[in-house]
Symmetry: C2
Subunit: 131 residues, 2 copies
């Protein structure tokens, strides 16, 4: 996932397969990336399977697990409508990776930077002469 | 904590006492807000105690625990230098509360909105006539 975010389940490189339809990871019968990371059997209907593929998914899940915990994310996802879960996974991966990079500020550091940027540009605009 | 963020351990209403010096919650010998929520003994040197007061702190810790898990946050804090921990607690509370309000986008929704805002203001600026 890049620094740029997008709503609506658009393109993602978060390791999320994004199909939202499969009940198991790779479709090959192997565990999904989350269950692979957790070294557990990937049960049919696994809440992580449609979003964490067996390859890159395991790497992304590692940070999600470290920051949020698999159990917390599983509970959160199961309460979200299926059509919104990919977006949730993308934003959770984004937050987790930001917190891994910057343990103090996480992605809130980016909010701060953007707020400053909005203020700066707005002030700049006020100083422009009006004709 | 308000929607507006600030770095550097500035003002906060996150339930964080912010002293960063006490080894126990309220100083009255009772448990800190985190240990009160977790219904456990607040041991001397509790990593949460300087930041979660026994009153409002317990409420804030509830969302932190639900989203991140007490154990994950404890581990994260213990790896951060003491003088940076208040900032970490503030941003963690902020992220947790945003995820409770908006389970799909959390505070990443705010990043998206701010990015759109920066783009919008920048484009507006480009359209202003130059004299």
């Amino acid at each position: 996932m890049s620094a740029s975010t997008s709503r609506g389940g658009g393109g993602s490189s978060s390791g999320a397969s994004g199909s939202g339809t499969k009940s198991r990871g790779s479709g090959s019968g192997g565990p999904c990336g989350a269950c692979k990371f957790l070294r557990r059997k990937c049960a049919p209907g696994c809440v992580f399977a449609p979003y964490f593929d067996p390859d890159q998914g395991a790497t992304y899940f590692a940070s999600v697990h470290k920051v949020f915990g698999a159990s917390n994310v599983g509970k959160l996802l199961s309460k979200i409508p299926v059509h919104k879960r990919l977006d949730a996974v993308i934003t959770i991966c984004y937050e987790a990776q930001a917190r891994m990079r910057d343990p103090v500020y996480g992605c809130v550091g980016q909010i701060f930077t953007l707020q400053q940027q909005v203020l700066f540009i707005s002030n700049l605009q006020l100083r422009l002469p009006v004709i």
